[in-house]
């Protein structure tokens, strides 16, 4: 846990590069980024901001905050149920932006990336959303159902407000599509390590390694790997290959198990994250020059 003692050092104006700064800092330290994903408002809206702070204490470098959506087509049942729990409290995009603003009151250094679906952003309007997100202190936006082909207007709005557009890459992405995503993205690229939805079963590390090599030949952006990373051991193996390890369903599953005992959520999530952090640092310290 001590590895992540963070003091607020950056002025708000520097928020443009919070993600880039984070990856540069880690690179200098020979470490990899740990990016936990939680759904905002799960299991209740009051827990989200304290949980974000606690995850930073437990070693998170970037936080991906899921924006609840009624029809999360690309997610598995675990994250869909998280959305449903949050939607019971009517946690939607506006409320999520409020949570980021609250988080920023105490933490001006940890990047926050919103991850969700396009429709809530469409309804708010791209320009309005980008401005509101910047004001709240959002650093990146990953819209899972918006591929590069459809992204130009939103990317323009996000960039104009200093927010990094982040894109997914998949095992099925061709070189042409990797280049396209790489040209539009800022911050990092999110490699979906297996075919399927979030929380799916198996992860072939050798496969991931080969694909990351192909991707690196086409883009200089840092590469995060998510989907299928269930424990510290898997995270450690991925940390040897990627710039960032993204842990989502494993955390959300833990939250679900403890939904009726919310007092236990923060300590248990922190324990899990700390294990992942230590496993990652253990291997990267020896493999990164």
């Amino acid at each position: 846990m001590s590895s992540a003692q963070k003091k607020p050092v950056t002025a708000p104006a520097a928020h443009i590069n919070r993600i880039t700064q984070c990856f540069e800092r880690l690179r200098a330290q020979g470490r990899k980024a740990l990016i936990p994903f939680i759904t905002a408002g799960d299991p209740n809206p009051e827990l989200t901001v304290p949980l974000m702070h606690a995850m930073v204490q437990a070693g998170a470098d970037v936080i991906e905050l899921g924006v609840p959506f009624s029809d999360p087509m690309a997610d598995g049942p675990v994250i869909q149920r998280a959305s449903e729990r949050a939607l019971k409290f009517h946690v939607s995009l506006r409320q999520v932006l409020g949570m980021v603003r609250d988080f920023r009151a105490q933490d001006t250094r940890t990047p926050v990336v919103l991850m969700g679906y396009l429709n809530p952003v469409e309804v708010m309007g791209y320009e309005h959303f980008a401005r509101a997100a910047q004001e709240a202190g959002v650093d990146g936006v990953l819209t899972v159902d918006m591929p590069p082909e459809e992204a130009a207007p939103l990317v323009a709005a996000l960039r104009a407000h200093g927010i990094a557009p982040i894109f997914l890459l998949a095992p099925t992405s061709t070189a042409e599509r990797i280049a396209k995503a790489g040209a539009l993205a800022q911050g990092y690229l999110y490699y979906v390590s297996l075919k399927g939805v979030t929380g799916a079963a198996t992860l072939d590390v050798a496969d991931v390694g080969r694909k990351l090599k192909d991707i690196r030949a086409l883009t200089p952006l840092p590469l995060g790997v998510g989907f299928g990373i269930k424990d510290a051991q898997a995270a450690a193996r991925i940390a040897q290959l990627a710039d960032a390890v993204i842990a989502g369903s494993a955390l959300v599953q833990k939250i679900e198990q403890l939904a009726d005992a919310p007092d236990k959520i923060i300590p248990e999530i922190c324990t899990l994250l700390s294990q992942i952090r230590h496993a990652m640092d253990g291997v990267t310290a020896t493999t990164v020059q």
């Binding site: 959506f69 009624s70 591929p147 997914l168």
Partner: protein, 402 residues
Amino acid sequence: MSALASSVLPDANGHFGPYGGRFVAETLMQPLEELRLAYERYKHDPEFIAEFEHDLKHYVGRPSPLYFAARWNRQLGGAKIYLKREDLNHTGAHKVNNTIGQALLAKRMGKTRIIAETGAGQHGVATATVAARLGLTCVVYMGSEDIKRQALNVYRMKLLGASVVPVESGSKTLKDALNEAMRDWVTNVDNTFYIIGTVAGPHPYPMLVRDFQCVIGREARAQILEQEGRLPDALIACVGGGSNAIGLFHPFLDDASVKLYGVEAAGEGLNTGHHAATLCKGRPGVLHGNRTYLIEDDDGQIIETHSISAGLDYPGVGPEHAWLKDSGRANYVAVTDDEALKAFHDLTRIEGIMPALESSHALAYAAKLAPAMQQDQIIIVNLSGRGDKDIHTVAAREGIKV
């Protein structure tokens, strides 16, 4: 004749004006592109077209008749009403036109497993049917609420050898079944072909489903020219996702004198909040892979819809309909559950034809429109499906236990 040639729209990226497109997670982009390329190749392939047309004729029973509803016409007065009898197709609805086409594509693409989503069960049955005939594994996703409402079709699918997977997430209806089918596809994309049942979803689905369904309008156009020696004045079809409507409308799009009416489900009334009238009451957004009109709240969350007809109970609509609405080429109206039920009974008693509750919406609007038109004018209504599947719904509504 190249039977499947499509018009200028959609553009290369699947856009109908601002609508349509391809809004899916990255993993599906390549499979969708492969599907598009396969379709672009086979839609001009004489062998593919010949096989499609052969199956439509000998397996589906096409061409379906264009029937003049003379007795109903006399009772209503006004314009002559012709019914395009898609209810007489094998499996009892227009859905099979599309599943035949997509299954032929699946076979040529070397896929061994078919998946589909279904609401009322008609598309699920049509998919299970073609899968049985081609010896392909078939998995149908269906909301658990719909499974309760449509027990007969669930059993039909099982008899045909399909696995019916209940979907317990969200509102447990069609939209959730679609989410689940997409998840299956993303996971099993190597051997699996996803047969979407309507003109919605990511490109190329709205285009290819339309092209397969256009046989309805092409036949109707030739039949009315033969029977009346002229084009109709109006076409009427119900719109849930909109596949039977686009199939009828599309071959008439360039005939400016032919008015097009898409009829949505007003449920308990357009101002009650309990309806499925996406084009009448919704607004543009992005869901299920395309930009189109949606029924949603102020936060962009999709709202549960209501219709007595499970096949119209969907919070989105095909993107080409969104475009036809905005461009003014087609008119979109809505009729209530009660109006549709009246049309169901009227057609059954007056013409001896029991229409599906979906199609009853189109008939109900015809009953409003015809009396306001001249006697020498002509309406074609798409009778998209037969009503046997709805008998339990109608009986329950009237307090009768079957």
